[in-house]
Symmetry: C2
Subunit: 184 residues, 2 copies
Amino acid sequence: MSSIQPWKTLSSQLVFDNQWCRVRQDKVELPSGILIDDYFVNVRPDIVLILAVTPEREIVFVRQYRHGVGEILLELPGGSFDPQLEDSLSAARRELEEETGYVAEQMIPLARLYDNPVKDTNTINLILAENAHPSGKQQLDLTEDVEIVLLSEEETLAKISTGEICVCGTVTALFLGLKVLSQC
Amino acid sequence: MSSIQPWKTLSSQLVFDNQWCRVRQDKVELPSGILIDDYFVNVRPDIVLILAVTPEREIVFVRQYRHGVGEILLELPGGSFDPQLEDSLSAARRELEEETGYVAEQMIPLARLYDNPVKDTNTINLILAENAHPSGKQQLDLTEDVEIVLLSEEETLAKISTGEICVCGTVTALFLGLKVLSQC
């Protein structure tokens, strides 16, 4: 039996409330009795990340500019969703088609993880999409500029080793998904 | 040659500036000419995460309450560091001892990744610590309440499958580190 206890939230208010960035300030009481009146949490939407594999066993990647770190990165396609409005599999299907123009016959949940459970509220939902093929309906937002890159499993693992694939969620989805695929 | 171009930052200011939470608002110009005047970025410190393995091949985990998601989670030990003041290996050595009381003879970098390159500035540095053993010098912050849990490789993989180990950085470090260890 674990001795670790949760904290008690005494009060909670949004101190920065913009459509794209929401910061909540909580007043909390720790099990030791210590009070913290400025614990900040970023309220963020849940995320889906899709490992889409073609019948030729190629993986569908996107190359995009990412302004948080100011770099052009190679990642799995994904996006945010509201679990009140759609489940993670529907969100994965929608995001995959919008961002890459690919559709997939079979969507399999790989894992529901936390990105940063210390500071952020959101989950990251990793989905395997098998038999993915282009539908021709890529629909990017005005701010999106996306290059589609298809890589074999060997090329993918090499790019993880060299650090060209360097986003945590993408690497996790690849390891979990390739393990599932190797058992098929 | 990729057609993807970076955005141009026209101006940048901290709009929320607290010791524990810093939000930057950038005015950016996209390659298409579109201007966005409210792109928000969370300025966050870099993180180290340590996969410490004992001579008996057990992995050192910590169980802690995480207020962002309001749950008690099982993770690898880690913490933030300032790359101006110490490198990731020194930070890993320090954080491992402070948080768990373990020290390790050998520290090997596994990967330098991004957690959320869309919204956050920080890197997450995954470090393998071999021959880890207790030094008896665990030094927790007043707000930290940490239970040390040792798990075998088999137990660890089972807990990833069941979802008990559910933090993205921890899962990535485990996959990368166990791959390195299997080659020793």
